[in-house]
Amino acid sequence: MFEEPYRWMEAVSTRHNYVQEKLKMGQPVLAVPYNEGLLIFGFAPQPGKIYEIYDRIALGGVGHPADVERLRMNLLDMAHLEGFNRSAQDVTSARLLQFGIAPALKQNFEEIQRAPYIIRLLLVELNEQGKPNFFRMNYDGHWETF
């Protein structure tokens, strides 16, 4: 497909630029911990911003609403199947991201011919001790906690 490795790197770099340009236009989502839990909020009445995923897991998204919607559906499906087959306690955002969403996003991003997901997600949860966990998921499948 690409005669030189340079061409492939150029393609990936262009892809990054493209998605980041698109993401710049998005309204941000903020999440803050406080003594009773955590607060997640977005700006103005924008669709595709804050959603409930599971009992103690919420999602905030920036980017293309349709992409946010697709990933939201997947997160919900995974969470509910897991919650049904095992238990509500077994549904954690780390598992949802690490085993569910991240591999798929990475794969999508690597397929140069396909359109990329224009998306950046914020996944927040209250763990069993009531402490908040924050995760950020990037469009290329890179995820981190902070």
Binding site: M73, N74, L76, H80, G83, A104
Partner: protein
Amino acid sequence: MTENIEDTQAGGDFFDLLDRSGYNLQEFLNKLPVNGKSTVPQGTTVLAFHYEDGIIVAGDRRIMAGSNLMFERCEKIIPIDSCSLMAVAGVPAIAFEISRILSQYFEYYRRTQVRPMSLEGKIRTFSKLLKENLTASTSGLTRVSPIFATFDIATGKPSIFYYDMLGAEFQVLSFTATGAGAGHIRDVLERENQWGPKPLAQRCEKDAAIIAMKLLHVAAQMDSEEKNVLADIQIYPILASVTENGYKFWSEDQLTRIESMSKEEK
């Protein structure tokens, strides 16, 4: 996984999701033993009726296995969501499975569609679950006639629905009961409703709880396998209510108090 992303439909149908994941309720039900007498535990009686603030749901926690009494703490009144209870007098395994599926379903719908399911939708979902899964089996053991008690926040009204063996839904306007002692209970409730001091739907919470407790005693006495009716059979009642504030279960202390109050009145 990328393929599945495209195929996902945003319909909020949890049954569909379960099917795609390979879960098969029918298969589970078909594996249950098909026989008259067996050692699979069977439930006794549950009842529900309207009272002043909402709905009272009561059941006897005794579980019979053949003619042995098993004192398991078995819940026959199962919450489905914050304002709904399901009461089943059938095989516990099925009741638990149904309740799990339904509660996940309602939550899944609410989260995917970003709005709660309407009351009619919930009733129909329950009905669909029963129809699709419970009619094919010929075993008497898999028969479940559940009672669904819910408070619809949207309309501010409590409703009781009774599902027969084929999954048809019937709205219950005053009272209902299922299980072994149901016939006797229904007779007593009819009498109370028609000729008591007030119709059941106007009774206060304390009166309603006392009636429910007395009825469980009636059912226990009539239902016993013993030919001699024991005057004071130990029952393990469970009592719950559904009101505009959601569902609540009576605690052990409260149950003891209601029990003693029901014995005082004559």
